[in-house]
């Protein structure tokens, strides 16, 4: 009995941390700029490649993760300066443009580095509960996901950057007239979102096969999480990560991984029908009602 409960809990933690870590970069960019970065999956892939190449060159894992994060962040900054910053306020065009970037990255890496590079084995070994064994690394990932949520909360609620970015999010015109450089805020946000995508790639690289198309595994789930979560990155990410994590892990355990993925899509379509603003829209509405 305890074993199966723990097994489910472990599966849930796994789905939850996967969704949170994969979606954080996308959700921050979307919440702040209203732009969906369709190259998000490819940024994750880039992070995984940088991490794997560094780790193979016997750079310590923690440094490799940090460097992967930083490099993809810088890459995101360059992409923002060259492309995205020219498309502020043209949300649909930016979708098409970032889609072009993602095609370029995926095919470019395929041409440069071939269909796959050898990955690492999952570090840290396993532990046993009852008759089943579990990976310690997955538990670490869950801890990272929670730390990430806490970090994002701290960043947006307790720093000057957070204050300025929330102001820009609410009304960029007024924020601008109060002396906030909104263009710079957008660039910083895009860089931060890209860095988080790089972090995601670096964290999940040891658990996956490293291929140019690996980003798509993240892409679908993270889009669904953003759709279900709604505009507010913090509330939306937490709520939808939890709910979708429960649904995905339950469906995956009962019917297999594929139905877990189908279930996510079905839930997303139903949620947007019932709650067009996503979970964060619903929660914010009720909080506002409570205050009145």
């Amino acid at each position: 009995m305890f074993n199966s409960i723990f097994n489910y809990f472990y599966q849930f933690l796994d789905s939850f941390s996967f969704l949170i870590i994969a979606v954080s970069g996308l959700a921050i960019i979307f919440g702040m700029m209203g732009i969906i970065n369709l190259a998000h999956g490819e940024f994750i892939m880039l992070g995984a490649y940088i991490f794997t190449i560094l780790a193979k060159a016997s750079v310590p894992l923690v440094f490799a993760i940090a460097l992967g994060t930083v490099f993809v962040g810088i890459f995101g900054y360059i992409v923002d300066k060259l492309v995205v910053s020219r498309l502020y306020g043209r949300a649909l065009d930016s979708v098409v443009a970032t889609w072009g970037i993602s095609l370029l990255l995926r095919q470019g890496i395929l041409i440069l580095l071939g269909p796959s590079i050898p990955g690492l084995t999952t570090p840290m070994g396993t532990f046993a509960v009852g008759s089943s064994t579990y990976s310690i690394y997955r538990i670490v990932l869950a801890a990272v996901a929670i730390a990430l949520l806490a970090g994002v909360y701290w960043l947006f609620m307790h720093t000057t950057f957070g204050l300025h970015s929330r102001a820009t999010m609410q009304s960029s015109t007024i924020a601008q007239s109060l002396g906030i450089n909104t263009g710079r805020m957008y660039s910083m946000t895009f860089m931060l979102g890209s860095a988080l995508a790089g972090l995601c790639g670096a964290l999940y690289a040891p658990t996956m096969t490293i291929t140019p198309t690996m980003g798509q595994a993240f892409q679908n789930d993270s889009f669904v999480t953003v759709i279900v979560g709604g505009a507010n990155p913090l509330i939306g990410m937490t709520a939808s990560g939890t709910v979708l994590g429960v649904i995905q892990s339950a469906l995956s355990m009962l019917f297999g991984t594929f139905f877990g993925k189908i279930g996510l899509l079905v839930v997303a379509i139903i949620v947007i029908r019932v709650l067009p603003q996503g979970f964060s829209g619903m929660i914010e509405k009720h909080m506002v009602k409570g205050k009145r």
Binding site: I101, F223, I227, I269, I270, P276
Partner: protein
């Protein structure tokens, strides 16, 4: 009346007539193989036009056109496998189109009645396409069969009966003629609609959804129906493709195939069906010649075109060309007896 005819003399209309005359003469001037090849290009033109209707006219960025294409193709193939009688194939064609229509209708209902906005439509349709491809690719086992039709995983469904009217199989030049007729019909429908109430209604939804709603239009319903119609057109292209090649595979729903109409429509000029037809033709001929020199670069080229067009010619290459030529012609003919139509002229004679 005379003025009306003069107004119709625009670069766009002249090029449209030239292109369709080219299509009409093509089978007389080229070998049977080339004609069949061109028929395939025309099928892609239908797919691109379906996106022009939903994205260019109505302003809904749909990534699911390839999915509807696949649904049409698979429906047709499944029916053909279950009923061996080839004279029933026209009914299967209708069934395929209907399947695309219904799936799009249901998806559209959930999206547009849910008040989903533009970027989210892109995401939902993209997820839909991804899931459909994943699903079809994992149907290799014998348990994935509908009646006698094995879905066949990556290999798809092969040896599908071609479309047959009575005892007359639609192959080669007959298929070319049928596809050309359909392209012409869809193209003309789009062009005529542009100047009718329905077209204006779609354009108003594209330009400002909230305002159209305030004017009393049921925007959600219109969006849903147009989305379904464009799904049906995409499914028609899928059925024709399946009949053309005799097979349908999951990669027909895949990433490259899903991106293709987006690139074609965006780069040609999404608000202008003529530009879409011309660019599609131009691109397919070019990419087929490029494919000989290394197809791994074709996605890079697609991505680059997409990026450069969005950054530098957001209206689309061909559409912008039309406008430039119209303006130049208007300036050149300013003092002459011939007046041109188009934008430049409208500005001068309000």
């Amino acid at each position: 009346m005379k003025n009306k005819i003069k107004c119709a003399v625009t670069t766009e209309n002249i090029s449209a007539i030239a292109v369709f005359v080219f299509f009409l003469l093509y089978p007389m001037l080229h070998s049977a193989y080339k004609v069949l090849n061109m028929a395939n290009f025309l099928i892609t033109v239908i797919l691109a036009l379906s996106l022009a209707l939903i994205w260019g006219y109505t302003g809904i960025f749909s990534y699911a056109q390839a999915a509807f294409y696949g649904i049409g193709g698979y429906t047709y193939a499944i029916f053909c496998k279950n009923f061996a009688n080839p004279s029933l194939t026209p009914i299967f064609l209708i069934a395929g189109v209907l399947a695309g229509f219904l799936v799009a209708l249901v998806l559209g209902y959930f999206m547009f009645y849910g008040g989903v906005n533009d970027v989210f439509v892109a995401l939902v349709t993209m997820c839909f396409t991804l899931v459909l491809e994943t699903f079809l690719a994992q149907t290799a086992g014998p348990e994935w069969a509908i009646g006698k039709a094995q879905l066949g995983g990556f290999n798809g469904i092969n040896a599908v009966t071609p479309l047959t009217f009575g005892a007359f199989p639609v192959k080669g030049e007959a298929l070319y003629a049928l596809v050309l007729l359909l392209v012409l019909a869809i193209y003309l429908a789009l062009r005529i609609m542009e100047k009718r109430n329905l077209g204006y209604c779609l354009l108003s939804i594209r330009e400002n959804r909230a305002r159209s709603e305030m004017f009393g239009y049921n925007t959600a319903k219109i969006q849903m129906v147009i989305f379904a119609v464009s799904g049906a057109i995409a499914a028609l292209a899928g059925v024709l493709y399946t009949s053309w090649g005799g097979y349908i595979v999951p990669s027909a729903v895949g990433m490259t195939q899903a991106t293709m109409p987006v690139v074609l429509v965006a780069a040609g000029g999404r608000k202008n069906p003529t530009a879409v037809v011309i660019f599609t033709l131009f691109y397919l001929v070019l990419s087929q010649n490029l494919a000989a020199s290394g197809s791994q670069y074709s996605l890079v080229i697609l991505g680059l075109i997409l990026l450069l067009v969005v950054l530098f010619v957001p209206k689309g290459i061909i559409h912008s060309l039309f406008e430039i030529i119209d303006e130049k012609a208007a300036v050149l003919l300013k003092n002459g007896s011939i007046r041109t139509g188009g934008k430049a002229n409208e500005q001068k004679n309000p």
